[in-house]
Amino acid sequence: MKNIILGMAMSSLLFAACNNTTKTTDNGSTADTTKSTDTSLTKNSSVATTTVLSDYLKLKNALTEDDAANAAEASKNFVASINGIDKSALPAQQAKVLAEISEDIKEHAEHISSNAGNIIHQREHFEILSEELYDLLKAGNPTGTKLYYTNCPMYNKGKGGNWISETKEIRNPYLGKSMPDCGSVKEELN
């Protein structure tokens, strides 16, 4: 409980720092609380998505460095990892989400890998890919540690974009080196 309160306080701080509205903060915190009840059911049963997550993080980190070539490489591995998920090891709810997203998320990853020369296009696909992966990981976090669902309000002419991070510290994959620390944590995945 202490952690949750601390988390809420932290995200409120981060939000305040980025001039976000109170409304968003509220959403973030409500989601935080529901989250912790969710994960108690699925904890330790989601290791099947470990490599998917680690490939995603490599992709994300390549984009934070504006490194389109590495992003392309990582997303190629990401496709293989999605294919490699042991579906029988997934909790029922997560298996259902996987069935829904699997085709689409692979298509986005393929676009990223075939667009090593166009990082803008890569980021556009990364945005949808991140949304879908979030849905998958919300149904079960494969790591023992927290993941941070982070939002950059400035991306795409103010439409914003989200991503999943292994660190609370902001490293923005949409704006890259031009604005590395724009963003705020919306939700923590336990």
Partner: protein
């Protein structure tokens, strides 16, 4: 040179005319209003469906081949005649990408509208399209 061009004309390409010219399945599935249907007819379906209306000059080679490459590429990215069979996630992300492409002006392709002038979207048409897409996205998400 002239002979070569004349000879070229004998190599006609296979035509993309295997689908419903009205794209009724798609229009019904997404409840497409008349004005949106007209924009899609004029600017989208020729490359993104199983049925192309070929202007006369595409009978001339190499224009016809060039058109075919547009169609093949267009269909592999998005095929409105198959749209209804896409899983929901794919529908959502395709619609989202369609709106992005229209908004940033990269669709319809400039290299395409250069020749097919009538496929070009006016600012107003762009707006009408993106508004319709965002409404459609919302209603699809509700059924998620």
């Amino acid at each position: 040179m002239v002979t070569a061009v004349v000879l070229l004309q004998f190599f006609q390409h296979s035509r993309n005319e295997n689908g419903d010219q009205n794209h009724a399945e798609f229009k019904k599935a997404l409840n497409v209003p008349e004005n949106i249907g007209q924009i899609l007819n004029a600017s989208c379906f020729d490359c993104h469906s199983n049925s192309t209306r070929y202007p006369w000059y595409t009978m001339l080679q190499p224009v016809g081949w060039w058109m075919r490459s547009h169609i093949n590429e267009g269909k592999s990215e998005l095929n409105f005649d198959e749209f209804d069979s896409y899983p929901l996630r794919r529908k959502l992300s395709k619609l989202k990408s369609i709106a992005e492409r229209i908004e940033d002006g990269s669709m319809p392709l400039q290299s395409y509208t250069l020749i097919h002038r009538s496929a070009k979207l006016s600012d107003k048409e762009q707006k009408i399209m993106t508004n319709w897409i965002s409404k459609t996205l919302d209603s699809l998400k509700k059924n998620k």
